[in-house]
Structure formats: C-alpha cells, structure tokens
C-alpha cells in the first residue's frame, strides 16, 4: 500500500538532489550553507521517523541556525526571459493541468473504489495522490519533451531556492502550536480576553470573538490555532450558553473571521510569502508585501461583514 512515507521518500531524494547540485555549483554565493540546508531537509524526509524527538529538535535547531546566518541562498542562474527549447503549446498545456486533474480524479478513485482503498492509504489520501501525480506527470514530461536528465532537479532547485526558508514556516508554526498546547497557552489567552472585556451585550461579544479570531490568527498564522482558544473563551460560555446563539452558525462564521486574519499576516507564509517569492515581487521580504496589501482591503470588509452576519443570523 502506498502511504505518506513514500511521498517523504520521494521528497528526500528531491532535496538530496538539490543539496548535491548546490554543493557542486561553484558560482553559488552560499554554497555550503545551501547544500547543508537542503541536505538536512533530505535527512528529515528520509530518516525523520528514526531520529526521535530530541534528534528532530536538534535538526530544527541546525536548520534555523543556517537561516539565521544567511542561508540557504539562491544560485545565480540565467534569467528565465527566453525559453531555451520551446515546446508545442498543446503539450505544455496538457502537462500543466495534468497534476491538478490527476489529484482530483485520483483522490476520488482512492476514496470510493475498492481497488483504490487497497492501493492507497486512507490517511492523507489527497497528499499521497498529489505526490504520485507529480511523479507520473514528471515521467511523462521527460519522455515527451526529452529535456536533459538532470534538468528536473536543476529547474526544481531554481524554484525551491526562490521559496527559500519560507518553505519551513507552516511546519514551524504547527510545531509552535503543539508547544503552546502542551503549555496551556490557549487557556491563559482565553481567560485574559474574557476578563479584559465586559462582554455584556450581544454585539460586543460577537465583535470581540470575531476580532479575537482574526487577531490571534494574525499572530499564529493559522485560524486552526485560534479557533479552540477563542471559542472556548468567548463563543461557548458567552455567545452560545449565555445569549443562546446557534453553535453551527457561530462556529462557521467565527472560523471565517479567522480566515480574514490569515489574509493579513506574513506568518501564514504558504499563502502570503511563498507566492510573493514565487512571483518575484520586489517587496517580498517586507512584513506587508504586495500580496498581503492586495488582500487586506477585501479581508477587512469581509471581517466586518462576518461580525454583522453572525450578529443577525446566529440569534
């Protein structure tokens, strides 16, 4: 059966390729730091399960230290203005949409056919199928367009270096969330919020809940981390038990208020920093880059709308 571990194996091989190519690239400005960074990430993918808690912790410490001293850096590859070997448009179009389509069809097949359930693990199915789709389409691309054998590693490294350290952000925030959970940070924040505001009218309570969801999401980079904290502190005792709000409506709209926060924070790196890096925005390293500035007006209006929707619909 294909499990998520096979996808990690594939990732390990890919990162190892990035690492070796970086180490053999004399023109790379951060050759050793870059090689070490992608190499350690390969170790995490290939052997992370064997390292134990402290081993993985030390691995993270090493990765973070590399970033702190200026790694992993990016190679000086020629700009991508002109296509080296132009391929027919229809081939490119087929290959470009193959992965998303394979992922959707493959996930449905894996979840709803007997064969699929036998072949592919029911945990993280979409991600496994996504990895499989990438591999199959890459093989198809190699056979169809016949690029040099090392070209996928070279081109993949170019894009990965563009993303750089931001690639680690979601994983780091998830781990921070785990430490916060173990240290009971959520309850303390919740107590603080509910004691700091006089939540004696329905409108104030709704507003504090929605703004709290957005604000805590901005800090944590993830509405999933804010939801249990704010809901336990405000929504459950005040909005639902005291004012009799409909739990489904309060929770649904509260979560979406958190999503408005996700649109406004550089902490949500995979949504806001990774695209800025991928699109080569000149202000990508600023706290509020072009992507966040493009989203903020919509996010603020939707946040206000969420407060009003909850106030009028949930009671």
């Amino acid at each position: 059966m294909i499990t998520v571990d096979h996808a990690y194996l594939l990732l390990g091989v890919m990162f190892l390729g990035f690492s070796l190519l970086t180490l053999r690239d004399p023109a790379h400005p951060k050759r050793l730091l870059g090689g070490l960074f992608w190499g350690l990430l390969a170790v995490s993918m290939l052997f992370g399960g064997l390292l134990g808690g402290l081993g993985n912790g030390l691995l993270v410490l090493a990765l973070v230290t590399i970033v702190a001293v200026g790694g992993p850096g990016a190679s000086r590859l020629p700009a991508l203005s002109s296509a080296e070997a132009a391929a027919p448009g229809y081939k490119l179009a087929v290959l470009a949409v193959a992965v998303p389509l394979l992922t959707v069809v493959g996930t449905l097949a894996a979840q709803h056919t007997e064969m699929g359930k036998l072949l592919i693990s029911t945990r993280q199915t979409t991600l496994i199928v996504l990895g499989l789709g990438c591999l199959l389409t890459l093989v198809g691309c190699m056979l169809w367009l016949r690029p040099p054998a090392l070209a996928p590693v070279r081109e993949g490294r170019r894009l990965m270096e563009g993303i750089g350290w931001a690639a680690l952000m979601p994983q780091m925030l998830a781990a921070l969330g785990a430490v916060f959970l173990a240290s009971n940070v959520g309850n303390v924040v919740g107590d603080l919020v509910s004691s700091a505001f006089a939540l004696d009218t329905r409108f104030i309570a709704v507003t504090v809940y929605c703004l709290g969801m957005a604000l805590f999401t901005i800090i944590m980079g993830n509405a999933f981390a804010a939801f249990p904290v704010m809901t336990a502190a405000i929504a459950l005792p005040i909005l639902i038990h005291q004012f009799g709000g409909d739990p489904a409506i309060v929770c649904a709209i509260g979560m979406l208020a958190g999503f408005c926060g996700t649109l406004m924070t550089p902490m949500a790196a995979n949504f806001n920093v990774v695209p800025a890096n991928l699109l080569g925005l000149p202000d990508r390293d600023r706290a509020f880059n072009g992507v966040i500035r493009a989203q903020a007006p919509s996010a603020l209006v939707i946040l206000i709308a969420n407060i009003l929707l909850m106030y009028f619909l949930a009671f």
């Binding site: 890919m14 402290l54 912790g57 132009a86 470009a96 991600l127 009971n184």
Partner: protein, 242 residues
Amino acid sequence: MLVLVGILIVVAGFALRANPLPTILVGAVATGVAAALSSGLPVADLPKAALDTLARFGTAFNDNRYFHITWLILPLIGLLERAGLQEKAKTLITRSGAATPGRLLLSYLAVRQGTSALGLTSLGGHPQMVRPLIAPMAEGAAEAQLGPIPDNARFRIRSMTAATDNIGLFFGEDIFIAIGSIVLIVGFMEQAGIHVDALHVSLWAIPTAIVAFLVHGARLMLFDRALRQQASNPGRREGTEP
C-alpha cells in the same frame, strides 16, 4: 501569565523584522521553560525543561512534514517554464484580445471558489496555477489592453493574482463538508458536549462566501481602471505622454 512570553517573543520578533524562523523556535522554547517555571520546577532543572521543549518541538516538526509534499510539483513546473509555458499562456490571452486582467481574475475567482466549494481545492494554488499560468495570463491581458506596462503595474497584477487565488480558496473550501476546518469545528464542539451537524456548519459558510465574492469581485472590476491610470501615469516611465 508567564507562558505568554512566547507570544510576546513572536510579536516582538515581527516588530523588529527579525527572520521568523529563529523567533518561532526561541518563542517555543521560552514558552516551555516558562510553563515549567510556573508549575514550580526548581531553577536548576530549567535546562532540562528547555531540552524537553526542544524535543516536543522536534516531534511536532516531524509529524508535520506533509506540508512539503506540495513542493514535489516544482521540478515539473520548472521544466515547463523552461520550455516556454509562461510565454505560451501570455500569447494565448494577448491574441484573444477581449480579456482584461480584472475580468480574467474575476472568472478565476469564480472557478477557484466554486471548485473549492466542491472539495476540489487542489485545482489551484500558487506553484501549480498562479505562477505558471494565471499570473502570466493576467499580465498578457494587461499588455494586450495597455501596451507595455511599467514594472510596478506588473507586480501589482501578480500580487492581485495571488490574492485572488487565496480569497477564492478560503471562502470556497468551507462550504465543503469534509474540509479540515469543519472537521475541527465538529470535533471541538463534540468535546464541549454540543452536537453540531457538519452539513449545517458548511451551509452557514455560504453567506460569507457570497459577501467575499461580491467584495473581491467588485475590487477586481475596479482593478482595470486603476491599472489604466497607473500605466498612463508618466511619473514612473520616461518618454511616455499621458
């Protein structure tokens, strides 16, 4: 109260514009040590508390490796770009003539939100769709309408493309009942002794979804006019008359 030191560190690091990765690790270890301290651990044992927290962080880091699976598409996208995918996408739009960046992105918003609402969230995304296809198409549409565009307008179009993908995804996916956030809501409420129906939760995401489409869609309709002004503004470019 002491355990809030981690949040304080994260906020301070952000304010000082430090790289977030070291800030997060320091914030996590400080939180773990603070929690040990406020539970009455003697100061001599604090180094051990720090190591325990590092181990807990490492375990969670390892458990969350799946975020990286998205990067498996990069070698393919890189190859397709080398073979001219972005140029092809651009010329396709330029030749069609009728598209403007705003109208193109409005259609993308509708498709992205609609497919996400059906659970098909992997049909879009920044490495898969935005960089190789949608952003070059939006730039091509702008060039077809306005001729050569200045760099600041180009970056604005790219930013708006990424923003449109995010907004379509966020306010579409919550309508699908098997998405992570709904699972989290149902599970959390179950623990609190309240039964909520997943379908009920997902239906109540629809009002916000409509608002999001109207708000961002309206901004996209105004986007074309803003771009025209930016492109005809002689301030940033030499030798062009308004």
